[in-house]
Amino acid sequence: MRHWRHRLLPVAVGLASLALLAAVVELMVRSSLINPFIMPTPSSVFGSFGRLIGEEHGLARLGATAAEVLAASVLITVVGVPVALLLHWRVRLRAAFESWVAALAAAPLVLAYPLFLVLFGRSQLTIVVMAFAAGVAPVILKTVEGFAGVRPVLVDVGRSLRLTPSQLFWKILLPAAIPSIFVGLRLGLIFALLTVTGVEFLINIGGLGHLINELAERYDMPGTYAAITFVVLVSVIFFAILESGERWLARSAR
């Protein structure tokens, strides 16, 4: 019982604060403290959800965005972590490339969308590739940091127990680096999500970003904000998946 209270209470407080904030904004818009042409009332945003799903294929759009984010995230993980391992094992490679990867992490890649359009065409592939390019750098950096930060004495314990190199990796190096790797994955996911919706918005294809662009061009402000809420929903879903993945890994290591 206590357990449930511990888990549900923070969620309840979070939702209540959100509702409170919405109520405050509602009042401010209605009393014209905030310009109603810029900011629709939260109630009208809420009211547009049905329309978005019914008339604008909102759920299909959400699905398209989610699929792109999923594809990019999987790519980021299966490429980022091994590349990081390579950089960790090959000191020269690390010296040669680490600062370039850091530079990549800071680059506003979205702006290079015309180049990617030429390379990959006006398709979801472009979106996925760009999201991958934007999100892979933090995963590489934090994973390298995670492996480099494994305390030498833990490796010594493994060596003294005569672990094979593969046991040493799976049973000591990887679990020790997991917290840092997941920090990288979270950052990578944020970058990927931003890039997916941003590029959809810019090149007018795919899911929610495209929808937001269309609605904004029609000056459908409540619809626009409702679509943005859908983006938040996608991000919440992905963070929940990531978190349960991390918990599952932690449990299986115990």
Binding site: V153, D156, V157, S160, L161, L163, A250
Partner: protein
């Protein structure tokens, strides 16, 4: 004089340096000794005299620059299956529960889950952590974590036990009690034990023989046979002879420790701010 059996562990003229040229430090210099089968030997010496370096060399984790280490005449060039090590630094796996930490060596050996957890439980109880099996190391105190790593090394019942200041993080009472426990197992399994410590009483309480090391370069200063009856009861530990051994080792150590402190002061004076 106790009669020692054949040598189980042999250290012959081992030297180890760190760094190159002018900044090179000779951590261990021409150290030789044997540990007989079933013997409990302690190494004592001032901080920074090369004890941990020697520990890593004997454990096969670091190569010596000169000399050799052998187990039953078999040279040690990599970690040896007969040797179990307890490290000076905190070494529990923070992502594993206490039980899974202690069962780790058995898991690696492929012992079935049921059996390894059962055996782990026995050693967890032995180091006084019964009831903490499912706790994570992060929920324990530093001393409790150190006991987890001791149990983890004991669980595979190594023929040779190497311990680098394993009781360093413990209070005096726990240290004495745990020392007794380790001794019990050691006697029961007839383990050959090499204990590195900075506690003189601990060395005298537990050992058949104590090796005193000099400060930089780390050399053998003296061997002291501890000719006291076992078990080392409270009576033995308060006897005059016990006190005599403590005083003798302190006499040797005092000289080295003050040289060590002088070296440190010298460094502070010549490199202020380092």
């Amino acid at each position: 004089m106790t009669v020692r059996g054949p040598a189980m562990l042999k250290i012959e003229a081992v030297s180890k340096r760190y760094g190159y040229g002018a900044s090179a430090v000779t951590a261990v210099d021409n150290v030789s000794f044997d540990v007989a089968a079933g013997e409990f030997m302690s190494i004592i010496g001032p901080s920074g005299c090369g004890k941990s370096t020697l520990f890593h060399v004997i454990g096969g984790l670091t190569g010596a620059d000169e000399g050799r280490v052998s187990v039953e005449d078999e040279p040690v060039t990599a970690p040896h299956p007969a040797i179990g090590m307890v490290f000076q630094e905190e070494s529990t796996f923070p992502w594993r529960s206490v039980a899974a930490n202690v069962a780790f060596p058995l898991e690696v050996q492929g012992v079935a889950k049921r059996e390894r957890l059962e055996r782990a439980r026995r050693f967890i109880a032995l180091v006084g952590l019964k009831g903490f099996e499912n706790h994570m190391p992060g929920e324990l105190s530093g001393g409790m974590r150190q006991r987890v790593s001791i149990a983890r090394t004991l669980v595979s019942e190594p023929k040779i036990l190497l311990m680098d200041e394993p009781f360093g993080a413990l209070d005096e009472q726990t240290r004495l009690l745990l020392g007794e426990k380790v001794l019990e197992i050691q006697q029961e399994l007839k383990q050959t034990t090499l204990l590195i410590t900075h506690s003189i009483t601990e060395a005298v309480q537990l050992s058949d023989r104590v090796m005193v090391m000099t400060f930089r370069p780390g050399r053998v200063k003296r061997f002291v046979e501890i000719d006291l009856p076992r078990p080392r009861t409270a009576e033995v530990m308060t006897s005059d002879r016990f006190g005599h051994y403590v005083a003798q080792i302190w006499g040797d150590l005092r000289e080295e420790a003050s040289r060590g402190m002088a070296a440190q002061e010298e460094r502070v004076r010549t490199h202020p701010g380092v």
